[in-house]
Symmetry: C2
Subunit: 102 residues, 2 copies
């Protein structure tokens, strides 16, 4: 199982705007082969930002990689890059393989 | 739903030792109220370390907090602090609330 996470640093006070963007988007993930689950996670509040993470779960890394090359991915990210005032820097991608569960 | 993650920076070449510690431990998580799932995740390889994350899912933040105050938590972490040679610095805890799923 593969976990794909993008970490976003959102300016304090703009959290509701950021969450609204996600709630209104069309993820185009339904029916994507190997896709299991998506969540938006709100993490720790720091002095100048709140950390968020997009958290998607995939059957394996290949399924995720295939999606990033697909038309569905292009459509899902068509609006990315707007509202730059919300962000402290670009998102940071981290991919994880599940090596143990209990 | 609450996601509790600890990020570990493991010295390059020591990844198998780190994974073995986790595979041999007793998590004492079975039957803990509000506990849903645990995984150990292996993330990106950097020049001097590989990032790992312990990834546990809870019904809510309160369930996680209760567990951290329990005897089960104390038992699960009795061996923590050993094998300091594997780690580049202390683990970094991050707790996340799920604010959206799709």
């Amino acid at each position: 199982m593969f976990f794909a996470m993008n970490r976003f640093r959102i300016a304090r006070g703009r959290e509701a705007d950021f969450e609204q963007i996600w709630s209104e988007r069309n993820s185009h993930l339904d029916g994507v082969p190997g896709f299991i689950e998506f969540r938006l996670l709100r993490g720790p509040e720091e002095e100048d930002h709140t950390l968020y993470a997009s958290h998607s779960v995939w059957h394996d890394r290949d399924a995720f990689t295939e999606w990033t090359r697909s038309e569905a991915f292009r459509k899902a990210h068509a609006g990315a890059g707007a509202r730059q005032d919300l962000y402290l820097g670009p998102p940071q991608f981290e991919g994880f393989e599940s090596v143990l569960d209990s």
